[in-house]
Each structure stands twice: as C-alpha cells, then as structure tokens.
C-alpha cells in the first residue's frame, strides 16, 4: 500500500499545486483520479466536511485543502524547501497564497458566467493580476520568493496555465502581457522549470475539456 496517495481531478489547478509540490520534493505517490459527479466512498470518507479534491493521504491519514496540504508536505519532507525560513518572509508568502486562492476562483468565474456577470468576473480578474504585478512580484526576481521556486509560485499555477486556456475558450482576454511585464516573465520562468512542465496538464486536453464545459454553461443560461 502506497504511503502517500493523492485523490484528485486532473483538470483542477488545486490538484496541480499538490502534484508540483510532491514532484519538486521527489515524493513517490499513488494518484487516484476522482469522478466529481460520482464521488467515491474513499473521497467522502477522507473529506467528509467539504467532499472536495485534492486530498492527500499520508500513512492512512487525510489532509484536505490544497494550501494546508502544501504546508504539510513542506514540513514533513524537508528536502527542496518550498517556503522561506524567515518568519516575516513566510508571512508574506502565506498572504500571497491566500491571494492566489482568490485569483484562482476569479479565473474560474470567467468561464462559469455569461453577459454582465462575466464582464464583472473578467474585470475582477484583471484587477487581481494588476495587484500581483504591482505588489507581489519583484523586479529582477525570477520567482515570487527570489531565484528559487516556492509554494507561492505553485499556488499561482492557475495564472500560469489555466488563464490562457480560459481566455481562448471564452474569447475574453483580461491578461495583456505587454501591460504586465513582471507577470509575463514570471509565467515564462515558472513554466520553464522541468518539474513544473511535467506536472501541468496537457493544454490540448484542457482546451477540449473547457470548450465542452463552456458549451454546457451557455446551454444552461439560454434555456
């Protein structure tokens, strides 16, 4: 029986965060793909409160919520540390991880809504990207924390990889790379890390998935 299991859904950025962390630390794990329309007894047993993925199971004990999982992984497996050692830098990192949660939700809202609601979602998303550019990223630093990738970068995987797909599927493009140069550089740096490239889901498969989802959203709104 594998000591580490991950219950997830391939297309979820929250799931991807955990995969990035496990792979960066070289931790072997068993991956279990969940069907969210038909949740397994295992998922319901391991996450009775939220019934959501990702769930990390370590030696039979579940850990839920991706941000909580990231910290647990970092504290349990100290190789390739994913958070700053200085308490103040760590507090700054935790602030941005929370902001990444909000940003990830706002990206999802763009494909889940239509009309005025969708315009509002795109506007909110852009404001968050501008905030990241102005306050989160530092000129000359490859990643959020400096020259090494850490859990803040991982937490923002939705911006690096999902935003582009959602933009293509909906035709709305809140992100204009020439206006947010630090963010543009960060995305390139993030996606250049070999372990990250391996961990991100295939773009073509994602496009097909989100196109299908978008059609369902449009169908439900027009009825």
């Amino acid at each position: 029986m594998a000591a580490v299991k991950l219950l997830g859904v391939w297309v979820s950025p929250y799931n991807c965060r955990v995969i990035c962390a496990l792979k960066l630390k070289g931790i072997a794990y068993e991956y279990i793909e969940e069907d969210l329309l038909n949740k397994s007894p295992l998922l319901l047993q391991y996450n009775p409160v939220h019934k959501k993925i990702p769930v990390l199971v370590h030696d039979g004990r579940p850990i839920c919520e991706s941000a909580v999982i990231l910290r647990y992984v970092d504290e349990t497996w100290p190789q390739n540390p994913l958070s700053p050692t200085d308490p103040y830098e760590r507090a700054v990192a935790l602030f941005w991880i929370k902001f990444a949660d909000d940003t990830t939700s706002s990206i999802a809202m763009i494909y889940l809504t239509t009309g005025e609601e969708q315009e509002k979602a795109a506007k909110e998303c852009l404001e968050m990207l501008e905030t990241i550019e102005e306050h989160g990223l530092i000129e000359g630093k490859k990643f959020f924390g400096g020259d090494e990738i850490n859990m803040v970068d991982i937490a923002f995987c939705s911006v690096a990889h999902w935003l582009g797909v959602i933009e293509e599927v909906t035709g709305l493009k809140p992100f204009e790379p020439h206006k947010l140069p630090k963010l543009k550089s960060w995305i390139l740096n993030f996606k250049s890390v070999p372990v990250i490239k391996e961990s991100l889901p295939d773009i073509e498969t994602m496009l097909a998935f989100f196109k299908g989802r978008r059609e369902m959203v449009l169908a439900s709104k027009s009825s």
Binding site: E75, T76, Y88, K98
Partner: protein, 219 residues
C-alpha cells in the same frame, strides 16, 4: 519603532480580536490603533495596499496582513510561551484545516443572518448552525480544539462568540439551544484573561450591527 508592535484594528472586528488574543497570550506589549473604516487612514492604505482592510500587524515597521497569517507569525516569532499551533505536522495540518473552515464558512453564513429576511434568512440560520455543529463534532469531548490546550482553532473561532447575541437577535433564534457544547467551550475560553479582554461586549456589537443594517438599508 524598533522592535515595536502596532495593531491597526477595529473594535468590533472578530478578525482583529484573533490577533489581540494571540498578542495577549504571548504577553506582547503593543500599540493598539483604532481605525475609522469609513475614512481609512494613510497608514492603513500604505500598510495594506492590496485589501485596505484591518487588522494589520506592524512589527519593526513591516506590515503583516490577514488575521490567521498574523496569528501564525506571532506564534513563530514569540515561541517562548503559550504555543498556539501544535508541534506535530499532522496536528498542525488539522488545526489549519479547521481555522480555514472558520474563515470560509462562519463570517459568510453569519453575515447572511443579519443581511437577509424570510426564507433567505432561514437558510442562512440553518447553514450557520450546521457549520457550528461540524465544529462541535471536531471539538468532541476536548476542553479546547485539538485536545492540547487553548490554541490556534480556538483563537480563530472564539471572537465570533461576541457576535452570537447580535445574530440571535436578528435571526430570532438561540444558538445555545442548538449547540450547547460549543457555547460551553466559548464560556470556558472567556475564563481566560486574553480572551475576555479581547472580545467586544455583545450588547455593543448588537448596537453596532443595528447601525450597520441602517447603513445597508436593511430593516
């Protein structure tokens, strides 16, 4: 202000109260700065440019934002007494999960009790009680969450206790009738000086809420 600690806060904020409790538990001397949220100070806007919200903890001139981040920071820096997070990584993960649950569920469902009426309000009350019952389940027979003494989840949740009276008045229901164990836990926490000194007076909170309702145009 070398080594100095300043807390930008608002008296009725349950998020600010979390930080006050943590600072009191660690016996940290700090300057409390009451903020006018309708007329935000330059200091607040400078220290929290992203959200422009309280509480903001300023240590050695550097700001830390988000109440649970602040509590964790306090616990790490002043680690010589009153540990709030357990040492074991799995227990820490459990504590963080439940504090995150409080953040995601309590404020939202509580706010909907006073912001809505009729069916919407009934749904909000139901959800609020369900969330409290889940927390009661997690508490179990322990004196405090986590079973190791007053800690992180207690700090995250107990400030909501001083808002219960206001919610009950607005929603015309009794939280104690539904969740006696949780109220017993809250009263136990209130025996601690750090909690009693940090929580606002429930009657004053209710008066404040009535003013808020007027401002929002809610009957």
């Amino acid at each position: 202000m070398e080594g100095g600690v300043v807390l930008l806060d608002f008296w009725a904020s349950m998020f600010g109260m979390r930080v006050r409790i943590a600072l009191a538990e660690k016996e940290i001397k700090y300057e409390y700065s009451e903020q006018d949220l309708r007329n935000k100070s330059d200091l607040l806007l400078q220290m929290n440019p992203v959200h422009k919200k309280i509480p903001v903890l300023i240590h050695n001139g550097k700001p830390i934002c988000e109440s649970l981040v602040q509590v964790q920071y306090i616990d790490e820096v002043w680690n010589d007494q009153a540990p709030l997070l357990p040492a074991d990584p799995y227990k820490r993960a459990t504590a963080r999960f439940w504090a995150d649950f409080v953040d995601k569920k309590m404020y939202d469902s509580g706010s909907r009790i006073w912001k809505t009426k009729g069916e919407e309000q009934e749904a909000a009350k139901k959800e609020f009680i369900e969330n409290l019952k889940l927390l009661e389940g997690e508490l179990g027979d322990n004196l405090y969450f986590g079973g190791e003494g007053f800690g992180y989840v207690d700090v995250a949740l107990v400030p909501f206790y001083c808002w219960f009276y206001a919610y009950e008045q607005c929603g015309n229901f009794s939280i104690e009738a539904e969740c006696p164990k949780l109220i017993a836990w809250a009263k136990r926490c209130m025996q601690k000086e750090s909690v009693a000194k940090s929580l606002a007076d429930p009657e004053k909170v209710y008066e404040f809420l009535l003013q808020l309702k007027k401002a929002y145009g809610i009957e």
